[in-house]
Amino acid sequence: MKVLLRKILNLMIALLIVTLLTFLALQVIPGDPVTKMLGADATAAQAAQLRTRLGLDQPVLVRYGRWLLSFLKGDPGISYSYSMPVAEMLKGKLSVTVILTALSFAMTVLISIPLGILTARSESVRVNHFFLIMDQLFMALPPFFIGILSVYLFGIVLKLFAPGTYVPLSESVAGGLGYLLLPALAMALPRSAMTVKMLRSSIRSQMAEDYVRTARSRGLTDSQILHRHALRGAMVPVVTFLAQSAAEIMTGTIIIEQVFTIPGLGRLLLSSIGSRDFPVVQAIVVLMAVFVILVNFAADLINMAIDPRIRVS
């Protein structure tokens, strides 16, 4: 249990550091939001009055503290440029990015685990070579390149889907999800290739352990050995890798949303950085970081479930 508490503590610290880093990064960016909102020819008095209303005249740490408190209460503040509550602006967009990431992550897991096991068990050298080459090839495909090609191929040539018509899930779950399938796949392909490669080598190294020979001496078939013993041990490094991939997919959505014109967090993040809309940027970055840290935490929990020794260390 002590290990769990320590992990949670680490998680909290990492989160705090992220929010602090974001906050400081935004102070450093040139371009003062007030001039942006009032325009260049605003009088000094108007600017000062707005600055106090937004609390920008407080020292950085006080502002950070106040922002953190209100964020924890679920209110990420008011957007500077759109003067709408940030939560209002995010609501449609957050679920889009989250679903896109979850879909892509699920695809990665569903593609790579079975394939990894299959390739690890195949004895013939030719099959191994084939899979290794496919791994290398898919790993080298950048998501946005696949995206462009598939938008062109499926969107414009084959007209399987209409780019730019993302219908929010609230309206038609099938339509929305259907649209997200392709972008999710574009991100999932290179990820799964890496996971397959890793899972295969992890299984291979487990199969070379002493206890596998003992199990064979008890009359177990190879597949029994794999499923009862080797696979479990092999999963530990893969689970950590998958959690890391989930984080990379999340940040990857920023580009894929651009290629497939999906109104997710990515596009809003880019434009609000441009317009120095700190509350929006802050909220998005922190949400992304929370997601990343949560998934890593889930991976730690699962690894603890698999390997009792981790529980004790």
């Binding site: 680490n10 610290i13 990492a14 550091i17 992220v18 880093l21 974001t22 990064a25 450093v28 960016i29 040139p30 371009g31 050298v125 191994n128 070579h129 290794l132 290398q136 090839l137 790993m139 080298a140 495909l141 950048p142 998501p143 946005f144 390149f145 462009i148 090609l149 062109y152 414009i156 890496m194 295969r200 080598s201 291979r204 190294s205 890391q244 984080a247 999340m250 940040t251 990857g252 920023i254 580009i255 651009q258 993040l269 880019l270 950085i273 940027v281 970055v285 992304m288 970081a289 990343v292 840290i293 890593n296």
Partner: protein
């Protein structure tokens, strides 16, 4: 450490050799000027004159792809170097000494990995402008955690080995133990990290230029070229395929080479 020949190594070597020569020549000479425009030759299909055809300004796509590959190659190399050096430094310190320094640095690394790379890139670009050096610096910073983690685990493992104990007994200084005794043992672990790092660096640079945050025109960058080529997918598909193809080749060559080396030293998997 002798490396046995195998399929991967050979293909990887050939591809990297060809690419390297093409890119290096690209720095000094390209069939056409990378920015030379020619109104008469707009969006020509690939031909002997223009191996990859021309773009909407009549510029030779092949020359631009080579010089773009050159830029990406240099940045990726720089990023991996920065990431590697930073990673090895932090990794060995944390791995060897542990304690508070280790806990703090590792938490910062966790935070950096959780940070969306694009935001950091934008901060750097808006502060210092979009030149190659800034992108290299900012991406390099982002790659340090992955190297640090790999090196830290390896250094921690090697730190308690008998040959390190005996080195201590002999009176070898801690610095020298770290540098000359422990680090050489982390190289086999570093190679895969460097490869993955290189691939991610090429992709990250291309993505940033794709978003208009990375390398600014007129300097040729694979990412920005890919973005511009989107519009001409219908009338000039070779523009997108050529650029995207080069990115894939660049990444494939390096990963094949590293896979080959790992196979050769028996550390790869069958």
């Amino acid at each position: 450490m002798k490396i046995r020949k195998n399929g991967f190594l050979k293909t990887g070597e050939i591809m990297s050799l060809v690419l390297a020569t093409v890119i290096v020549t690209g720095f000094f000479w390209t069939p056409y000027g990378t920015t030379a425009m020619n109104a008469a030759e707009k969006t020509l299909p690939p031909s002997l004159h223009h191996l990859l055809g021309t773009d909407n300004f009549g510029r030779d796509v092949f020359s631009r792809v080579i010089s773009g590959a050159g830029t990406s190659f240099l940045i990726a190399l720089g990023v991996v170097a920065v990431g590697c050096i930073g990673g090895v430094l932090i990794g060995s310190l944390c791995g060897y000494f542990g304690g508070i320094a280790d806990a703090v640095l590792m938490r910062v690394c966790d935070a950096i990995t959780a940070f969306p790379a694009i935001l950091l890139a934008l901060v750097v670009v808006s502060l210092f402008g979009g030149g190659m050096a800034n992108i290299l610096l900012c991406l390099g910073l982002l790659f340090i955690p992955s190297f640090a983690r790999v090196v830290r685990t390896e250094v921690a493992r090697v730190r308690d080995m008998n040959y390190i104990q005996s080195a201590r007994l002999m009176g070898v200084s801690t610095g020298r133990i770290l540098l000359r005794h422990i680090l050489p043992n982390t190289f086999p672990v570093l190679l895969p990290a460097v490869t993955i790092g290189f691939n991610n660096a090429v992709l990250a640079e291309a993505s940033m230029s794709f978003l208009g945050v990375g390398i600014q025109p007129p300097q040729a960058s694979l990412g920005s070229m890919l973005k511009d080529s989107q519009t001409y997918l219908n009338t000039a598909p070779w523009y997108a395929l050529g650029t995207g193809g080069m990115i894939v080749l660049l990444v494939l060559a390096v990963s094949l080479l590293s896979e080959g080396i790992q196979q050769g030293t028996g550390r790869g998997q069958v």
